[in-house]
């Protein structure tokens, strides 16, 4: 996880970009969700969560994690709907892992969409804080 200082707005609220590299079964995935929830709860702006590397497994529609206590897939869909957060899955990483194919464009879990690394870079360049989980 990385964080670097940039200009802090005078009102103290910051714009965040999160990158999730961890698969839903890794501890860092829980950390990412907890952090995202806290960012929103504190009134900061979470514009986008970018799922990269094994993080793209979050968007696997119909996945049923072993632990029924935490619906690790569905919670992000619900979170995006409640808070208007853009959930983006890296196209190349998702395609490499069979999570998404260009031919079958509706195969992702609700609230997720596919885009390229350029969108992540655009987010990194325009937000105050950029953190990587996993």
């Amino acid at each position: 996880m990385n964080e670097q200082e940039t200009n802090i707005e005078s009102d103290g609220f910051l714009k965040y970009t999160l990158q999730v590299n961890a698969s839903p079964c890794q501890g860092e995935a829980d950390l990412a969700f907890g952090f995202a929830s806290a960012v929103v709860a504190r009134g900061h702006e979470l514009s986008r969560v970018f799922f990269y590397r094994d993080g793209v497994y979050h968007a696997l529609k119909g996945a049923q994690p072993a632990d029924p206590q935490t619906a690790k897939i569905g919670r992000w869909s619900g979170f995006a709907q409640s808070h208007g957060v853009d959930l983006v899955v890296c196209s190349a990483a998702a395609q490499r892992r069979g999570v998404w194919t260009p031919e079958e464009d509706n195969g992702l879990a609700r609230g997720f969409r596919v885009a390229g690394l350029a969108l992540l870079v655009e987010s990194i360049m325009t937000t105050d804080r950029y953190l990587i989980f996993g």
Binding site: N2, A92, V121, E122
Partner: protein, 116 residues
Amino acid sequence: MRYLCIFRKTPVGGSGARESFDLMLTLAAFDQEVTALLIDDGVFHLLPGQQCSEEGHPLPALWQSLEMYGIDSPWVERESLLARGMNQSCLSIPVRVVSRDFLPDFFAGFDRLIGD
């Protein structure tokens, strides 16, 4: 903005290394000031003679093409090299060497750190 992309893992075993590398190149494509640092097992990226090609696009060759993307020679941590019986002269491309003691100051020279 100045970015430091840090590689700490070996280049083999999954597509993770390649994906970290892709992010670095994408930042460079957006005309961002990008620097690479190899530390811990990340120094193995520059071990010559690797045959870890993935999808016909081998990482060793990509490291040799950094200049094409406007990225200067990578930095390598001296202690990581020594601990693995390597030195600057046995690497596949020219590098700059930084010692562990100096890393905090080195990091302070960048706006964002990106781990692999």
